[in-house]
């Protein structure tokens, strides 16, 4: 099969998977609601029916939140891997999520009456961190691991800042402990209003920049000699990844590893062509987080663990695997 057909097939598969995950996300939970139950209540217009209430008020916002956070973080990761030319890059690992998180908490502590500011401040935090990491860890002869180490250092500084705010302003953020690991419980449709707009813009930009991502992956010199304004494109790409990661963090907290696992799983199947990688990551990330959220709700029912914990359990080992593989390929 040629690479184009493979890419298209992958995009369709991830779309199908997303649809399946939405149905599962709406039906499964501590109470089972069959699609038939819900449709009956929905068509009868019976808003007091428990099936209707569970689906519309509790599960729909969660599924939507998971879809948005998953697609935003996966695409953000795919972009960062291209622009930093580093397979280990992803928004949680290089500290971009932490930058967004610190700004969210600052905003909640000092400007609690302006929820519209949350995604914007998260975006600013993500952008500032990404630019700083870029300045520190790029340049001739800097190894791929340097980027990761710089990110770890940055994350711990920003994490210290977040913990400070939580101790000094314990009421600033409701469910702050869930925020630190990333979770989707307690999401309302209203809280998604602003992030939706940011993520939409971010995804459109990412789709428009796909060819540039491919060309920048050829190396800076080649990209320049093809007439690309490399610095402008780089900034646009970092800007886009910051919009996406920031918006996701603003309502879902520090969900980790989606931006690492999903693009890599897709790369493994179809290669590095961003024309297909970006849309497939968007849908694949959406489906992945919805499914993980379902598992985190169902596995220990009636208790639930925040989805971020589950993702760390999956993502941590995956990250170690990537480091080992990267080490091998450097010896070639």
């Amino acid at each position: 099969m040629n690479s184009r057909k493979k890419g298209m097939l992958m995009v369709f598969c991830t779309i199908a998977l997303t649809i399946v995950s939405i149905v599962l996300g709406l039906c499964l939970g501590s109470t089972q609601v069959s699609p038939a139950d819900f449709m009956r209540a929905f068509l009868a217009g019976d808003i007091t029916d428990p099936a209707y209430r569970i689906v519309i008020h509790s599960r729909l916002p969660r599924v939507l939140g998971a879809l948005l956070a998953g697609s935003a973080l996966a695409v953000s990761g795919a972009i960062l891997q291209a622009v930093l030319q580093n397979p280990l890059a992803s928004p949680n690992i290089i500290g971009v999520n932490s930058g967004a998180g610190l700004m969210v908490l600052l905003c909640s502590a000092f400007l609690p009456s302006h929820p519209a500011l949350l995604p914007f401040s998260a975006f600013l935090g993500a952008l500032a961190t990404a630019m700083l990491i870029f300045a520190l860890a790029m340049g001739p002869g800097v190894s791929r691991i340097t980027l990761v180490l710089t990110g770890i250092a940055m994350s711990s500084i920003l994490g210290a800042g977040m913990n400070c705010i939580m101790i000094l302003y314990p009421d600033a953020y409701i469910g702050a402990s869930t925020f630190l690991v990333g979770g989707l419980s307690g999401i309302t449709l209203k809280s998604l209003n602003f992030p939706v707009a940011y993520i939409f813009v971010g995804l459109v930009l990412a789709m428009l920049l796909r060819r540039d991502m491919n060309i920048i992956s050829l190396g800076t010199e080649t990209a320049r000699s093809l007439g690309m304004s490399v610095n402008v494109i780089r900034f646009l790409l970092i800007f886009t990844s910051a919009i996406l990661a920031g918006a996701a963090v603003s309502f879902a907290g520090l969900i980790g590893f989606v931006g690492l696992i999903v693009p890599h799983a897709i790369r493994f199947l179809i290669g590095n062509d961003n024309h297909y990688l970006v849309p497939a990551s968007a849908f694949g990330g959406a489906a992945f987080v919805v499914l993980c959220d379902v598992i985190s709700r169902v596995a220990f029912a009636p208790y639930e663990i925040p989805v971020g914990i589950l993702l760390s359990f999956i993502g941590g080992p995956f990250f170690i695997y990537l480091i080992i593989r990267n080490r091998r390929s450097n010896h070639d």
């Binding site: 690479s3 428009l208 050829l218 080649t222 093809l226 007439g227 690309m228 062509d273």
Partner: protein
């Protein structure tokens, strides 16, 4: 066609890598820049094709300062084959298609004439058979052909090559040099940095010999050999052999004789 006027270059806080380089490159010629490691030859190439900005002096392309030109305008006139350390995981065909980047408007796909140029480039370098294969899975010679096809698809008058034969087997080196010569015969101006003295002497019309950030001598291969500068700079001895009309060169360490 390309003129350099008093070009200097230094990395911040370091002594000049290039010192007052003044020279010119002729149209339709093959020019090779030679010199020992660290002499500034790659830096010079990067300054000419604007990957680096000179700290003083000017690079003129047909009378126009390249540092005042728009990126895409320059890329329509000059293509560069860099040394590639990380071959991409994309198909040969896609790689060659990126050569059309400076000719495409933003967000525009490949037009029929773009596809035609890409096909021509693939045919020219004889890469049609593996056009659907991944660049990172190719042999060194095939990969270099794919990159040359990308430069061809860029449809420029001038092609720069940064050590195009490094890491290749000896027979493949000759194949690549023959390909470069045929490009020149088809009307391209070729400017390259080479490591291999024999290849440079055999395939160049003009040679620029550098050391310590300065041009030590330049001229035709015979003139450069006759100047004795190669022997001095590399601390070697050049031997000439004539066979019919052809001249061959052999280099050895001077202490052995």
């Amino acid at each position: 066609m390309i003129k350099l006027e008093n070009v200097c270059y230094s990395y911040p806080g370091q002594p000049n890598l290039l010192q007052n380089i003044t020279t010119s490159f002729e149209e339709y010629k093959v020019t090779s820049i030679l010199g020992p490691n660290g002499c500034g030859k790659s830096t010079l190439l990067k300054v000419i094709c604007r990957l680096l900005q000179p700290s003083s002096g000017k690079v003129l392309l047909r009378g126009e300062d390249v540092h005042g030109m728009k990126n895409k305008e320059l890329a329509k006139q000059v293509a560069l084959l860099s040394q590639t350390n990380h071959p991409p995981e994309i198909t040969v065909e896609d790689l060659v298609a990126y050569g059309r980047y400076p000719h495409q408007k933003y967000g525009q796909g490949l037009m029929p004439q773009d596809k035609q140029i890409i096909d021509q480039a693939l045919r020219y370098v004889k890469a049609e058979d593996y056009r659907h294969r991944m660049v990172n899975r190719l042999s060194g010679g095939q990969r270099q052909r794919a990159y040359i096809a990308m430069a061809l698809a860029q449809d420029t008058d001038i092609i720069f090559l940064d050590e195009p034969t490094t890491y290749l087997d000896i027979n493949i080196r000759f194949d690549i040099m023959e390909l470069i010569r045929s490009l020149n015969e088809a009307g391209k101006t070729i400017i390259m940095v080479l490591h291999d003295l024999n290849l440079a002497l055999e395939y160049s019309d003009h040679i620029i010999l550098m050391d310590n950030g300065m041009i030590q001598t330049e001229g035709s291969p015979q003139e450069v050999i006759r100047s004795g500068e190669i022997d001095r700079i590399f601390n070697i001895k050049t031997h000439l052999f004539k066979e019919g009309t052809q001249t061959f060169y052999h280099f050895s360490k001077p202490t052995l004789y």
